[in-house]
């Protein structure tokens, strides 16, 4: 803990003292102290499983702490019962998955849970109030728009407004930029700055180090349920920060992150001709060669995920052909794609890749029933041996195959999914946001794994909203915009984040 400077007077809006929390024997928080001042952005960092989410859940009333106290300025010690209570105390959370009602409009959502929203007060009255709150935040957002039709950035604005409508003084942001475009991110940062200037206290959770430097005044790092350090952001170097987060010397490894060798003269693995899907994809032509990593950049909603799902047979296409190793194949469902040696590692692990209640071994076996039960009966011993080998080789933690997969960190879950498809013998890998929500250490391991796959002659298609990831991994890059592949860049030398961004937003075109 750091003692505040004498010359900067501050008052704590919020003080958490000695917070502990265990989940059925696992100590998630081991006595955490955290405080937040008015008019500051306090970043909270740590790997997945370090305890950030648990701490936030306690602060926002989702779970009670086992011990420890929460003291609010002007209120004193509080026990927060549920998220409604938290909101009433002036504590709001902008979460990764907004908890808004899609069927209601913006104004209704802002006042949701308050009596005004029940229609007792004339509509025009609370609409005017909503307008007043929204005006400084997002003057162009129509308050009568249905929330279901809004994009991620707008949803966040509505969540902020909802907190402000209750007189909120503390706003937490949980990985707010993970599905924002760079332009939207800049907008959000401006907004946070504005909230800060008006004396709110902001808790900002992120994996992204540059963001923490860009926005925060102080940073607290959690590791294994404990506070590693709590310091002024500008006094900490990025290297130090990474070391605090990962607890090891990763900075050098990350920096070296060698550019891949140009792999030429490989054979065609996957060819797309004129792939179309109504309203989503228009005439996509693309060739993916063995041994290469092809990056797909573009804004959220540009059709990248849709393309991967179409190739995999998860969604219907209504035009065009897919050629695997030169042969046209009709992939109508994921099982067809699997049989053709294609793997999809989807963007939302929890919803699209994992059966949370199953253990690691069974999740691993999900795509491998042909292999492990040709007769209908499972060859459990064989499967157990195989997954244990992957656990060793890929350093999956914890080391036990019988652990429920939902208890693993994001990075370890992702490794299990990759192991699943390696075992299936896939040669074409479609990675959709392969390291979203994964901590720096595991991210590096997964990148290395992807490079090795390419080196071994697999073909990789990588979708990522993190442009540095695309630049670090890919041999070639395609840019999608409005459902079209608008640009293919075969020589990545000289490609910068800035340039990629301009292509994606359509500011520049290269012929």
């Amino acid at each position: 803990m750091q003692i505040p400077n004498a010359e900067t007077p501050w008052k704590p809006l919020l003080q958490l003292r000695g917070i502990t929390k265990a989940f059925a024997g696992v100590q998630a928080l081991k006595g955490v102290d955290f405080d937040l001042r008015a008019g500051e952005v306090h970043a909270l960092m740590g790997e997945n499983g370090a305890g950030k989410s648990t701490l936030m859940k306690i602060l926002f009333g989702v779970q009670p702490p086992d011990s420890g106290t929460i003291v609010l300025d002007g209120v004193g010690e509080v026990a927060i019962d549920d998220p409604r209570h938290a909101l009433a105390l002036g504590i709001g959370l902008v979460s990764q998955e907004p908890s808004l009602v899609p069927q209601l409009d913006v104004a209704q959502n802002i006042f949701l849970g308050q009596t005004e929203a029940l229609g007792v007060v004339p509509r025009s009255q609370f609409q005017a109030k909503a307008q007043e709150i929204l005006k400084p935040l997002a003057p162009r957002l129509p308050i009568t728009a249905r929330v279901g039709s809004l994009g991620m950035a707008e949803l966040q604005v509505v969540e902020i407004a909802r907190t402000l409508a209750r007189g909120g003084k503390i706003i937490g942001f949980d990985e707010p930029t993970s599905s924002l475009t760079p332009a939207e991110r800049d907008g959000l940062f401006a907004l946070i700055q504005q909230l800060k200037n008006s004396g709110k206290g902001i808790i900002y959770i992120s994996h992204r180090i540059p963001e923490v430097y860009a926005i925060s005044d102080r940073v607290t790092v959690l590791r294994d349920g404990r506070v590693v350090a709590s310091r002024a952001t500008k006094e900490v170097s990025a290297d130090e920060l990474i070391n605090m987060i990962a607890g090891r010397r990763l900075a050098e490894e990350l920096q070296h992150s060698a550019k891949p060798v140009v792999r030429a003269g490989r054979t065609e693995a996957l060819r797309l001709e004129g792939i179309s899907a109504t309203g989503k994809l228009h005439d996509i032509n693309l060739t993916l060669r063995t041994g290469e990593i092809f990056g797909l950049a573009g804004l959220v909603g540009s059709g990248r995920t849709e393309l991967a799902r179409c190739i995999f047979g998860a969604d219907r296409k209504n035009g065009g052909s897919v050629y695997i190793n030169g042969k046209p194949l009709d992939l109508r469902q994921p099982s067809d794609a699997k049989a053709a040696g294609i793997a999809l590692i989807p963007e939302d692990r929890r919803k699209q890749a994992l059966v949370p209640n199953m253990d690691v071994e069974r999740n691993f076996g999900l795509a491998n029933f042909q292999q492990y039960s040709p007769s209908g009966f499972l060859r459990l011993k064989q499967r157990r041996q195989d997954i244990e080998r992957y656990i060793e080789e890929m350093a999956i933690r914890p080391r036990r195959a019988g652990v429920r997969i939902r208890n693993l960190s994001g990075g370890n879950q992702q490794k299990v999914i990759i192991a699943r498809w390696l075992q299936s013998g896939a040669r074409i890998f479609l990675f959709d946001e392969p390291t979203r929500g994964i901590d720096v250490g595991a991210k590096f391991e997964i990148h290395e794994l992807m490079r090795r796959l390419a080196k071994d002659g697999c073909a990789l298609l990588v979708i990522s909203s993190e442009l540095p990831e695309i630049l670090a991994l890919c041999d070639r890059v395609g840019i999608m915009r409005g459902g079209r592949l608008v640009q293919t860049i075969d020589d990545c030398a000289g490609l910068t984040e800035d340039l990629l961004m301009k292509y994606a937003s359509g500011e520049v075109t290269r012929s």
């Binding site: 024997g25 998630a28 090891r248 994921p334 890749a353 199953m358 039960s373 209908g376």
Partner: protein, 330 residues
């Protein structure tokens, strides 16, 4: 063959923090509380009546529970795949009528026709749900009405008397003092348990119920899995119907009415989660036994059967409530 690809990474990789598996799960507490509940039930009834714990009455409970147990095993599999089958009671009625009508002509034909029809009923349910993507609740509720109607149309609402003696001996006799329905129910539950544990289909049922989209994206044929569980449910309802007409000695078109609630109750008490992805066919036995013991005890206490219906409903809703509470995600 693929593992050398990753060996390099392993060399670079270090441990990263991950939570440990919790030893005492809510599920375990739940199982323990079901067992405790059953024990309490037995103690209370044994104290309140002097005939409850008599060996002959305990055997009676086993016998009375066996029909529900068979259906509940099928229901457990359906619920594990995150479905529901409300048509089981009507399948009992329809298949037992067909079998009863054919038995006098040809024993084997009667049995086979009943089984084929039961599987067919399940297949229809499954195909409508999996292929046409109709809601399981509505499909099987509609089928509850259709199968029942068919059974009534078949004999114009009249029962069929005089079930073949051999048939009765097989499905409602006893072997060395143990009633065959009890043996049958045990065997069915055991087979289903082994299927869940040791076959691809069993694991796919859990996967589809646990996360359908993930199962589909892993290349599992989700439609086939769903159709399978409904077919199994139809088959097991048929066996239950055999036991029913074997015991009564006659087949009624309204036989099996209300069995669906009993079966859902037994499945949920036995640990099946209506959220899908969890359940245990052996638990269905415990569930059926719990409901059976409760009804038996209430009868001994001279509680009118109308009130027993109320009690059954209450127990089922409480069991579902307990399921919600203990499984609520975080």
């Amino acid at each position: 063959m693929t593992n050398d690809r990753v060996s390099q990474v392993a060399a670079d990789a270090k441990t990263s923090a991950a939570p440990r598996e919790k030893k005492v799960s809510l599920g375990w507490i739940r199982s323990a509380s079901v067992v405790a509940g059953v024990a309490l039930l037995f103690i209370v009834f044994s104290v309140l009546t002097n005939s409850f714990y008599a060996p002959s009455n305990l055997l009676d409970i086993l016998l009375q529970s066996s029909i529900n147990a068979m259906i509940a095993v099928g229901m457990t599999l359906v619920v594990m795949a995150r479905g529901i089958d409300l048509s089981v009671g009507s399948v009992v009625g329809l298949t037992s009528m067909i079998t009863a009508s054919l038995l006098p002509q040809n024993f084997l034909l009667g049995v086979v026709a009943g089984i084929v029809l039961g599987v067919l009923c399940g297949l229809i349910n499954g195909i409508l749900i999996a292929k046409l993507k109709l809601p399981d609740f509505i499909v099987t509720l509609g089928m509850l009405s259709i199968y029942r109607g068919a059974a009534l149309i078949f004999t114009d609402g009249k029962p069929i008397y005089g079930i073949d003696a051999t048939f009765r001996a097989i499905f409602a006799g006893d072997v060395g003092g143990i009633p065959t329905p009890v043996i049958l129910a045990l065997a069915i539950a055991l087979l289903a348990f082994l299927m869940v544990r040791y076959t691809a289909l069993g694991e796919q049922i859990i996967a589809v119920g646990g996360n359908e989209e993930a199962a589909r994206l892993a290349g599992i044929n989700v439609e086939r899995v769903k159709i399978c569980v409904y077919a199994i449910s139809g088959l097991l309802a048929t066996f239950a119907g055999f036991v029913l007409i074997g015991r009564i000695g006659a087949a009624e078109p309204i036989g099996g009415t209300g069995f669906e609630l009993q079966a859902i109750g037994a499945a949920v008490i036995g640990g099946a989660s209506l959220f899908g992805g969890e359940g245990n066919p052996l638990g269905a036995l415990v569930g059926a036994l719990t409901l059976g013991a409760m009804q038996n005890g209430l009868t001994l206490l001279n509680v009118p059967s109308f009130w027993q219906l109320v009690a059954t409903g209450v127990v089922v809703i409480v069991a579902v409530f307990a399921d919600q509470v203990t499984r609520k995600r975080r």
